[in-house]
Symmetry: C2
């Protein structure tokens, strides 16, 4: 009987190990709580003086906050109109310190910061939530002789991959930005959900998506050991070391270990911000490797000669995307102009907003259906 009571307690606490802080016996708090056109956020804070809410839907997410009100049992809350459908991040600010929502299991990691997520349902987000069928996300390690150590990848294989042992797939190489790592596109970008939904609906070709770690001094996300044999990747002679590793080590590793179609017409490369720069560099250094090239909010440029070389190589899709208020928008306009002048057929997809994951999810959801067709 003692055992059963103790077990019931372990269940009720909803956690496997003993909590670091006491939990009361009050009724459970639901947060965020979407009801109709509004959403309520709640936090228990017994001794706080001021509790605020900060969310990425606010006009000024850097400093803007909404005051929360102390209610029964010191549960602070605020009810706001539901923002437009999108995935947002938010946190509470308790006496000046940012706090995640302890009731919300949905959390994104952005560098060292873990942020609670609010998913507002709607047409914009319908491909960002779980589909009925699911691909497999795996984390294999490849050996980089160029960078001098083994490195972790994230690989998405589409639903059906395991059950179709003779089928071969095209591959999208999808690159993160500065501050990101091999988990960024999966966590913040919702890549698995977007591809699951697009493929399930017949809108995108079943494809493999490879998400490497684009930081040449980093072995993997969240590992703190620094590789002993790492090259000096900051030196000028090594400036393209990661892009070279991508094109001459990661691509062959994937083509050896997964069932892929090893042809330019079945290879795409896309990346955001710094990863957009890597996309541009990779396509310029290896113009015949990828037939589909998608720089997103990209930090990078091409010379007229490089654009001409890509045209000659017979690129099938060049999809350039940027937000109209992005601080890199001028650079994208310059690249658009260079491509136009060299007669390289391309799409310049301009969205509202700036340098945000809201845009990068939209771009992936937009260009993935255009690949390999």
């Amino acid at each position: 009987m003692t055992i059963m009571l103790a077990l019931a307690f372990a269940w009720a606490s909803g956690a496997q190990e003993l909590s670091n802080f006491a939990r009361g016996g009050q009724k459970p708090i639901v947060s965020p709580d979407i009801q109709g056109d509004s959403v309520t956020f709640s936090l228990k804070a017994d001794y706080a003086t001021v509790v605020k809410l900060s969310g990425s839907w606010m006009p000024n997410p850097w400093g803007g906050t909404i005051d929360m009100t102390r209610g029964e049992n010191n549960v602070w809350s605020v009810k706001i109109p539901l923002p437009e459908p999108e995935i947002y991040t938010y946190n509470f600010v308790v006496d000046g310190v940012a706090v995640n929502d302890p009731q919300n299991v949905l959390v994104q990691r952005d560098g060292t910061r873990y942020l609670s997520m609010l998913i507002v349902p709607g047409a914009r987000t319908e491909n960002y939530v779980e589909a009925k069928t699911h691909g497999t996300v795996s984390h294999p390690w490849y050996q980089s002789d160029i960078l001098g150590y083994s490195r972790r990848l994230t690989v998405y294989t589409p639903y059906g991959y395991e059950n179709s042992p003779k089928k071969k797939y095209p591959v999208l190489y999808l690159l993160h930005g500065a501050g990101g790592d091999e988990e960024a596109w999966i966590s913040m970008g919702r890549t698995a959900q977007i591809l699951d939904n697009l493929i399930e609906k017949g809108l995108a070709e079943p494809m493999i998506v490879v998400m490497p770690n684009g930081n040449p001094g980093q072995q993997a996300a969240r590992t703190l050991n620094i590789p002993e044999k790492a090259i000096n990747w900051r030196s000028e002679e090594n400036r393209d070391a990661y892009v070279k590793s991508l094109c001459t080590e990661i691509v062959p590793f994937i083509e050896k270990n997964f069932r892929v179609i090893p042809k330019p017409s079945s290879r795409a490369i896309a990346g955001l911000s710094m990863g957009g720069g890597h996309t541009i560099s990779a396509s310029n250094l290896y113009p015949e490797l990828f037939d589909y090239i998608c720089p997103l909010s990209a930090a990078g440029r091409s010379t007229p000669e490089q654009a001409a070389a890509l045209k000659k190589a017979g690129v099938k899709l060049y999809f350039l995307a940027c937000g109209s208020s992005d601080f890199l928008f001028e650079g994208s306009k310059t690249l658009d102009k260079t491509l136009t002048e060299q007669g390289l057929e391309h799409t310049f997809f301009v969205s509202e907003g700036g340098h945000t994951w809201a845009n990068w999810r939209l771009y992936l959801n937009t260009f993935a259906p255009l690949l390999f067709k």
Copy 2:
């Protein structure tokens, strides 16, 4: 030039999307900061009245805290003697509210709670940190006709799996406890690091480790949609539905999709708490399926007849483990007695402490070298 400055800023912020809260220009805070025999924790909190530290190494982690002191620039800190080598979780308490350490990228998820990690180096933790070589962690989905929907698994394949296409491997099925899910053993249990290290040192056989989701009403960790076709798993007739899915659906799925040795002598089952109960149930329902059985801090029991059936089936290792102050210790002693009375050779491994991940990591590190030999 504008572009380059903006980019430099994005780098410096260490994050891809704009922060939800303002960041100052002060020198970066390092926390936790291990120096010699002490560790210092720091948190910037401009408007807080009381800031405390709570850690799982404390004698009373439920309520015990240490006061932190306000220093220059409103950075609160406390320096404490380094605890014994182990992996701990901790958080700050700002005016009564638990807060993660925003400087620390190492975070464990326990149910809905995200907790900062402190890894104290030493003999106890040497297999808990990154090895030189790494297996692959993947998340395939299997279809459960018993439970009525598709479900997510975590699978570890050892280093070398991809490069040895003819080699076949034994499999350990490793089950979580109440409040956990298919990510618990990877996140809190450090399974990939422990297996990587044990295999690299030649202490354990290269093996595949399969970590299912043991909650029959849950499709996957952190997905919030409830499967439409789920059976009523709370009903008495369905009480063993998950264990049946494990033994008659997951085992065949793994043996079809991975290169395994499909024999009892190459199958092990282990689990903690509720997962220890599942381990006991599975071995009792299917006594010939697993030759290696390891209930850890287990919630479950066996009848004399069941123990006799396991003896008859020729079990190669029965490794029962529990902490001497665990609230389930009496149950483990009862099981030990039943096994002894039925003449089933077994190990009863009793450690210090209670129902904690410190013990479950220790148990995995202890029994994994005994498997498949």
